[in-house]
Assembly symmetry: C2
Homo-oligomer: 457 residues x 2
């Protein structure tokens, strides 16, 4: 047994940095979404890049799969051990290695969480803004090309990872990128590893771009009669050159779930939640211009949250959206979908998805990032009911097809994992085969997170 041999060799080299305890295996086999538990055969806890190199080398010697692990918050089973093997848990590689105030970057190990990083940054005047909701690790966020509420202003992980160190399938450590803000020196390997979901190597260090904490912030919420008006207001805002730091929408079903969960009193209508960052003058000007645009598009009077505490409440409500929606159907489990379309097609995509869900067996509130055209339906199913699960998967499948038909993508921020494999050909055609060529060239044994993103025959 190749995997068994790998684990014996690992235990010999690493002692108690390797565990095969059933509870650890089960924990690392669990996905945040609807996938069954797929445990690895062992979990390794490296303390250094050198450890990771030795772990991968031993696994390569024995054709044993290697799966990276941050905190397990990915949503398409990116960390499930579909063929068993060794999960590499980066919990002991979570250091903040360097902050440069002048050049506005941080060098970190992959196991640091975004909240931990921002906690360390709080006195520097700088921040790391990418915010997928979950308190994910930077390594995990880079691997799935995560984004979230602030991408409309600060970009996704693609835009915020300047360089990285990765251990490839042959056990070598490579470094990509530099500390300069741009480069034309060869293929963009940083961009290749960001979003590769651990299928080309394990990220062992990252240099991420930091941004100035905004001098002033204002946030607010307002209601619209329908999604089309809400989206039109946002499109006009973007074209006017007004920079939003966040621009989120929730549909009427989500608003009702918020009311029940957080005690808010939102009308039974779609809403926009917006935030501006900048100088006090700029924020005031932008808020006012945005308010005018909203009025022109039939939006309600804005409720502004000027005080930090009110803003915190507003965004806590948004960040707890998943739990609010889950609580709206007691005992339910959620299948979380994720598609992204051109902004001009967002209202159509949401309306068609809304109608599709309403014609199905199950509830599914919709919410998302309007500025990116990215949205999620939280499909609530009775976990004991196979028909409901199938209905949810069918809805998700039609969402993916709809997104492609509208010029969009099957996933805006959750990644492919195993959940979106079936739609890769429809989105990419021959370009998926080209991705497979790259995978085969860099990982000929197919040991790095096999079964995810790529289907190797």
């Amino acid at each position: 047994m190749a995997i068994k041999d790998a684990i014996s060799a690992l235990k010999e080299s690493f002692g108690d940095q390797i565990t095969t305890s059933l509870s650890e295996l089960r924990l690392h086999g669990q996905s945040e979404s609807h996938f069954r538990n797929m445990p690895p055969d062992a979990v390794a806890f490296p303390k250094s890049t050198d450890d990771v190199q030795r772990i991968v080398s031993i696994c390569a010697d024995h054709d044993c799969p290697v799966i990276g692990w941050g905190v397990g918050t990915s949503l398409e089973a990116q960390t499930s051990a579909v063929r068993g093997g060794v999960t590499v848990d980066f919990r002991d590689m979570n250091a903040l290695l360097e902050i440069s105030q002048e050049d506005m970057f941080a060098r970190v190990q992959p196991g640091i969480s975004r909240e931990a990083l921002n906690h360390e940054l709080r006195a520097t005047g700088l921040m790391f803004p990418v915010d997928p909701g979950a308190n994910a690790t930077l390594g995990g966020m880079a691997s799935t090309r995560a984004s979230g509420t602030t991408a409309v202003r600060y970009g996704t992980m693609r835009d915020n990872v300047m360089g990285l160190e990765a251990v490839t399938a042959d056990g070598k450590a490579i470094r990509t990128g530099s500390l300069a803000r741009k480069s034309s020196a060869g293929y963009d390997l940083t961009g290749l590893f960001v979003g590769a979901e651990g299928t080309l190597g394990l990220i062992t260090e990252l240099t991420v771009r930091l941004h100035g904490q905004p001098e002033a912030t204002s946030a607010g919420i307002c209601a619209f009669q329908n999604m089309t008006d809400a989206v039109d207001a946002v499109t006009t805002t973007i074209q006017t050159g007004i920079q939003m730091a966040r621009i989120e929408f929730v549909d009427a079903a989500t608003a009702l779930a918020f009311n029940a969960y957080s005690g808010s009193e939102m009308p039974n209508l779609p809403h926009l939640m917006v935030e501006f960052h900048g100088s006090p003058t700029a924020v005031a000007e932008q808020s006012q211009m945005f308010g005018d645009i909203v009025k022109d598009h039939g939006g309600s009077e804005f409720e502004w949250a000027i005080e930090a505490e009110d803003r915190k409440k507003l965004w806590a409500m948004r960040h707890n959206g998943y739990y609010a929606i889950l609580a709206s159907r007691p005992g339910a489990r959620a299948i979380v979908t994720d598609v992204c379309v051109p902004i001009s097609k967002l209202a159509q995509a949401v309306d068609e998805t809304r109608a599709d869900i309403e014609g199905s067996l199950i509830p599914g509130p919709i919410l998302g990032h309007v500025g990116d055209g990215n949205f999620h339906a939280i499909l609530l199913i009775d976990p004991e009911n196979a028909k409901e699960k199938q209905a949810a998967l069918d809805l998700s499948s039609r969402m993916a097809e709809r997104a492609i038909a509208l010029g969009g993508t099957i996933t805006g921020e959750h990644g492919v994992g195993i959940g979106k494999l079936d739609y890769m050909t429809a989105e990419h055609g021959d370009a998926w085969a080209l991705m497979t060529q790259i995978k085969k060239a860099l990982d000929p044994q197919n040991i790095m997170n096999p079964g995810k993103l790529i289907r190797v025959n």
Copy 2:
């Protein structure tokens, strides 16, 4: 002769879309920089992606090199036919295929120039801001990951190409990216082809991000006692969150060259040239805040160019910098260098380069993009004097080494071509070998722009 056979087959298929006229070969063998003329054996003028696919397939059948050509403004001999072969000139594939005002993108063929695109956009309220100075084609700019004066605000080609179509070495056409503003659906192939200098395939279509034309613009120029003060002023500005649309520096030697060429009256000192975009209020606020920061750092009073005509003059002076510097030594030819360092190291890098040039035989004014840490020395040599050429290449070599030692990169925007091959190992170590693995996987015959960016044994 494999190449001869390829050309015969091409002529049979394409008739007068293929030329072997000596003047065309010479024209397509010429580099904008110091490299000798390296002509191809034929030039092809495709009219469609299908044409490009058939050209590449025929070349692949005969192991014949294929080199892409926009207008030949690259600076590291990216278009030179080092092993002969067929140059694919995209002059007849220069159409603007689609503009989306709502989703703010343009779909173009690779042969369109940035000025032609912006001319078409002038009535739309949108613009394509990436500006490398030369009126390059979009295909060429994407292939070298070009940037220029506006990258500090709008990003480089990496940030502004949303997707593309490329013909790979096997003659297949693949499509990457989507019309959505972000995606997590697999490896970032768009990012892989941008900056690949035609070594992985020929770009046959691009979808590029457009930006709103700014409501208000202001630009200005001021002098500093030294580079450190100038750079410190810029660092403070960035940290304050003030967004500059352009922030350029020229050294004292460049200022004198401007005076002689454009009749300006700049003091014999380093200067900053800056531009702000935004609402009238925002531009006024930012200009004033920047003026205050400049004063704090010992800068001179600002000369603001508020009127469009004055701004045009200011930036024409900057864009003609190369010619102004060239004219400062009659009969000279220029070797243009390009490195990029962390902004905190920019003053040191420029000062050390300045001292190095002053200790050499040749003049070399320095100018660059402070907001990115990217700068160029224009090394002026007597083309008949081999010693001067060697001195210039040695200076360029030390600039590259210095950039790496300071955490930067050997090229910020000009690319690798053949001019920077010698420093790829120093910058990337084993990561260059990984680039080579990708090249070999996607182009096993090494026919796509061979001899550039990668050294295949």
